[in-house]
Assembly symmetry: C2
Homo-oligomer: 221 residues x 2
């Protein structure tokens, strides 16, 4: 089993729950932090000292406060850590259950597990730790659909811009002008129509309102 584990979560009270789970797993070397930057530094330091942290359990959302931090979200933290320390196992433990977020974390950032906070959260966390230790990945049941192929939709940055502008109340004509002003192409009304139409098909939306609504639910915008 893991020997050295780092727990990052800005709610100290939840931290305690996680630590109790680690306790039942006989993991004694457990460190806790409340800020992303602290987590980053701890991992770096441990690696440098040749006593690397084996597992990171982190939340996604950290409330901002007075501190001026480099990394302000769990996602950023995971992204950079997994890049610089691919051998570090990462379990995300969050209330967030939007599939798109989960998908990005698992597929793009190579997280090892995603556990939803909830009534069964700590139980699932227990399972996740064991599964990850055996070099497998784990997902809470309610987000298990996140990595299934059919959710695998190609959405690029341009699409996100379109959806965002729509959600801000711009007409298609208005979006066209907005894009032109920003030197983004394509910007013709016709192209915008076509792209929106494609998105509607991809998401199975009945109309543009529905499309934007879905995009918001997925956490795309």
């Amino acid at each position: 089993m893991f020997k050295k584990v780092l727990v990052a979560d800005d709610l100290l009270s939840i931290n305690q729950g996680v630590v109790s789970v680690l306790d039942t797993l006989k993991i004694t070397d457990v460190q806790e932090v409340q800020y992303c930057d602290d987590a980053y530094l701890k991992v770096k330091k441990a690696a440098q000292d040749n006593e690397p942290i084996e597992l990171l359990i982190t939340d996604l959302s950290y409330k901002k406060d007075h501190r001026n931090e480099t990394y302000t979200s769990g996602e950023e933290l995971v992204k950079v850590l997994k890049k610089e320390h691919p051998e570090l196992k990462v379990i995300v433990y969050s209330v967030e259950d939007r599939l798109q977020r989960v998908r990005t974390l698992m597929n793009k950032h190579n997280c090892n597990a995603y556990v939803c906070k909830g009534r069964r959260g700590l139980i699932e966390l227990n399972t996740a730790i064991n599964t990850v230790y055996n070099n497998d990945t784990y997902l809470s049941p309610q987000v298990a659909a996140a990595t299934s192929p059919k959710t695998n939709i190609e959405i690029d940055d341009f699409d996100i811009i379109l959806l965002k502008q729509l959600s801000l109340g711009l007409s298609q004509e208005g979006i066209s002008q907005h894009l032109q002003k920003k030197n983004l192409s394509p910007y013709s009304l016709s192209s915008i129509e076509k792209k929106i139409n494609k998105l509607k098909t991809q998401f199975g939306a009945n109309n543009t309102i529905h499309l934007v609504s879905i995009a918001k639910d997925l956490g795309l915008i």
Copy 2:
């Protein structure tokens, strides 16, 4: 200070944090539940036995599981309890920070305090308990704007239905038929147009997409 307090939250680990705060306030008679229904029954029972619970601290969102519950959200719980036991003090303790939700709870359901979970959550909870004990209301700073007059918008259940149906992708014609089928009035296309138009004015939305987007951001739907 309060003597008898009930804590309801489906994350047992957070419960522990709340309990520790109560502990520092020398409140010894603290009960804990993880389901809304249990909270309801406890309050009823205590009132019947003439040993009423003085303060309820509750979360808003309870993950659903196998149990078939009458009350599935903190909001429902608060609504019914405040109606049947106006003398019961209620503090909502939740990660939710959407103003509309807070506003409804404070103004409509007469909550006594709203504290956002977060880094300073337990500190603010402490303040809230003291403030409520002195018959005043308390709001976490980030939601303090919730009860300011300018946020005071009149939205009724019918409006919510309209917004919901729009977000689900129905056309105005489709909504008309939906309402007619459900024997809800008014259901004419003309009335629906008019109501949507009014909502757009109220929320300062440029078009219907914008309106639904705003409604989602506010947590109305």
